[in-house]
C-alpha cells in the first residue's frame, strides 16, 4: 500500500503589508506553497524579501491578514506547540544554565503536568541529541555561538513539535561552525523526522540541506521558483550536480537584477 502523503503546511494566497511611516509597504505577495510531512524546506531570498516574515507568520508570531496558513490541518492564528522555532540569535536566557534553558521550553497543555524525572529525562535526551553532554550546567555566556544554537535547537524540539521553523539559524556563525551545524541539523532531522522549514540567504546552505528550495523574489516577495533538490545525502558541495542546482538558484535570484552585470561577480 502506498503511504499517504500528507501536506503538513499549506500556505494559501498569503500576502503581507507593513505600515512604515504611514505608508503601506508590500512585503509578501500572494504566496501559495505546500510542504509535505517530513520534508526539509529551504526558503531563500535577498534580504528584505519577506522570507523571515513568512516564517514568522507560520509560527503565529506575525498576524496573517490576507490568505491563510494551515499547519497540521489547523489554521494558524497564534503560536501553537505544533511548531517549534529557532531564531538567528540563540535567544537563550542568560541567567539559565543549558539544561534549565532547554527545560524552560517544556509547556504542557492542560493539566497533564510532567513529573520532575520525566522532564529531566526529556532534557537529557535532547542534550544528547544536540551533542552538549557535559555542558548541562554551563551558562550561555560560556558557550560558543554554535553551541548556543544547539541549545536553542534543543529548546525548539522539546515539546515534540510537528514542524521546526528555523530563521537563519546559522547566519551569525563562522564558516566552519556553520558547516558543522548544517550537518548537525541534517542528523537531527533524520533522527527526529520533523518537517523543517529553514530560511536563509545562503544559497549553498539551501542546496546542501533542502529537499525543496523555494526562491523568493525581492520585495514584495513572491514565489519565483520551487526547485527540487534530488541529490542524495550526504551531498558533496563540490560535485558537478551540486553546482548545477546552485547555478539554477543563482539564475533565479538575479533574474530581475541586471544579470549581465552580475555575471562578472559570480
Amino acid at each position: 500500500m502506498e503511504k499517504e502523503i500528507i501536506n503538513q503546511i499549506e500556505i494559501r494566497s498569503v500576502s503581507k503589508q507593513f505600515t512604515i511611516d504611514r505608508k503601506k509597504v508590500d512585503v509578501l505577495n500572494d504566496i501559495d506553497l505546500d510542504f509535505k510531512q517530513g520534508e526539509f524546506i529551504c526558503i531563500v531570498g535577498a534580504s528584505g524579501c519577506g522570507k523571515s516574515t513568512l516564517l514568522r507568520m507560520m509560527s503565529g508570531l506575525e498576524p496573517i491578514e490576507t490568505g491563510k496558513i494551515i499547519i497540521g490541518g489547523e489554521e494558524v492564528t497564534a503560536p501553537t506547540l505544533k511548531t517549534g522555532m529557532v531564531f538567528q540569535e540563540s535567544r537563550l536566557f542568560p541567567w539559565l544554565s543549558v539544561e534549565k534553558n532547554i527545560e524552560f521550553g517544556i509547556t504542557t497543555a492542560g493539566k497533564n503536568k510532567k513529573s520532575a524525572e520525566s522532564k529531566k529525562e526529556l532534557v537529557n535526551n535532547l542534550i544528547r541529541l544536540v551533542g552538549l553532554k557535559g555542558f548541562e550546567k554551563a551558562l550561555p555566556k560560556q558557550l560558543s555561538g554554535g553551541m548556543q544554537q544547539r541549545v536553542s535547537i534543543a529548546r525548539g524540539l522539546i515539546n515534540n513539535p510537528e514542524v521546526l521553523l528555523l530563521d537563519e539559524p546559522f547566519g551569525a556563525l563562522d564558516a566552519i561552525t556553520k558547516i558543522n551545524m548544517q550537518n548537525e541539523i541534517l542528523r537531527i532531522w533524520e533522527t527526529e523526522k520533523k518537517t523543517m522549514v529553514l530560511v536563509t540567504h545562503d544559497i549553498d546552505e539551501a542546496v546542501y540541506l533542502g529537499d525543496k528550495v523555494i526562491v523568493l523574489s525581492s520585495r514584495p516577495g513572491s514565489v519565483r521558483k520551487i526547485i527540487h533538490v534530488d541529490l542524495p545525502r550526504e551531498r558533496d558541495r563540490n560535485s558537478h550536480d551540486f553546482a548545477a542546482v546552485r547555478y539554477k538558484i543563482y539564475k533565479e535570484f538575479f533574474k530581475d537584477a541586471k544579470i549581465k552585470e552580475l555575471e562578472y561577480y559570480i
Binding site: P79, T83, F87, P94, W95, R155
Partner: protein, 253 residues
C-alpha cells in the same frame, strides 16, 4: 595597559597615600598652621571618637540613623519596585502616573521635610517617610525602565512556547530587569542615606546628622569630623554591600 591587575606595590600606594595625607594633616595642625577651631588634628578627632564611644553616644546616634535608614529604605524599595513593575507592565498605569510623577520627583526630598513634619509630626515616622521618598524615585524609575525594556526577542520565545503571563513575568521579565533594579537600589540607598542626614539636621534630637549639627552649635569641630567620616565610611559600606548583592544576583553578566 591592564588597569584591573594590580601588583603588591600598587596596594602599598593605595594604602599609604591616605596615611601620608593624615600625617600631613596632623603636621599642619600640631604646628599651628591652621586654626584648630576650624580643622582639629586627626588625633583630636580620634580622641573625640573614643570619647563618644565610651559614653555610648556614638552608638546611640549611629543606631538611630541606621534603623531609620533600614525602615525608610525598605519601604521605598518595596513600593518603588511594585509601582515600577506595574507601570512597566501596563502602559495605562504609566500614562496615569507620568505627569504627576514627573513633577513630584523633581522636588528635592529635602524640600519636603517641613511639609512631612507638618503632616505627621517630628517623630520617627517623619524621618522614615523622608528616607522612603529619598530612595523611592530612583528605584521606581529604574525598575520601570528595566521592565518595559525587556528584550522583545526573549518575549517572543515565550510566545512561541505558549507560556502564561505569570511565567513570563517571573522567569523572563523580572530576571531581565534585575540589572536595572539593582542600579535603582544602589542609587536609592545613597538617596536614603542623604535624606536621613538632611532630616536629622533639620528636625531631630538623635542620629548622626543631629550629632554633626549639634557639634557645630557646641563648637566641637572634632565631633563634626567624627560624624563626617562616619557618613563617608557607611556610604562606602552600603555601596560595597549593594555591589556584592549585584554580583550574586546578576551572576550571568
Amino acid at each position: 595597559m591592564d588597569r584591573s591587575k594590580r601588583n603588591p606595590l600598587d596596594y602599598v600606594i593605595i594604602v599609604l597615600s591616605p596615611v601620608v595625607l593624615l600625617l600631613l594633616w596632623q603636621f599642619v595642625s600640631t604646628n599651628g598652621l591652621v586654626n584648630p577651631a576650624f580643622l582639629p588634628s586627626p588625633v583630636k578627632v580620634i580622641t573625640a571618637f573614643t570619647g563618644l564611644l565610651s559614653s555610648g553616644k556614638f552608638q546611640e546616634h549611629f543606631q538611630t540613623s541606621i534603623v531609620r535608614v533600614l525602615f525608610g529604605f525598605s519601604i521605598g524599595t518595596v513600593s518603588g519596585i511594585l509601582l515600577g513593575i506595574l507601570s512597566g507592565l501596563f502602559k495605562k498605569v504609566d500614562d496615569c502616573l507620568t505627569v504627576l510623577f514627573s513633577v513630584l520627583r523633581s522636588i528635592p526630598t529635602i524640600g519636603l521635610i517641613p511639609l512631612i513634619i507638618l503632616w505627621v509630626g517630628i517623630g520617627e515616622i517623619s524621618k522614615v517617610i523622608i528616607i522612603a521618598i529619598g530612595s523611592f524615585w530612583s528605584i521606581l524609575l529604574n525598575t520601570q525602565r528595566g521592565i518595559s525594556g525587556t528584550d522583545i526577542k526573549l518575549l517572543e520565545v515565550a510566545r512561541i512556547l505558549k507560556k502564561d503571563r505569570l511565567t513570563v513575568l517571573g522567569k523572563i521579565i523580572l530576571p531581565a530587569s534585575m540589572p536595572s533594579i539593582i542600579t535603582g537600589i544602589r542609587l536609592g540607598i545613597s538617596g536614603a542615606w542623604r535624606s536621613v542626614i538632611a532630616a536629622e539636621m533639620i528636625a531631630s534630637m538623635r542620629g548622626i546628622g543631629y550629632m554633626i549639627q549639634y557639634a557645630r552649635e557646641m563648637s566641637q569641630p572634632a565631633v563634626m569630623f567624627v560624624g563626617l567620616f562616619t557618613l563617608g565610611l557607611i556610604g562606602l559600606g552600603l555601596d560595597l554591600v549593594v555591589k556584592a548583592l549585584e554580583k550574586k544576583l546578576i551572576f550571568w553578566s
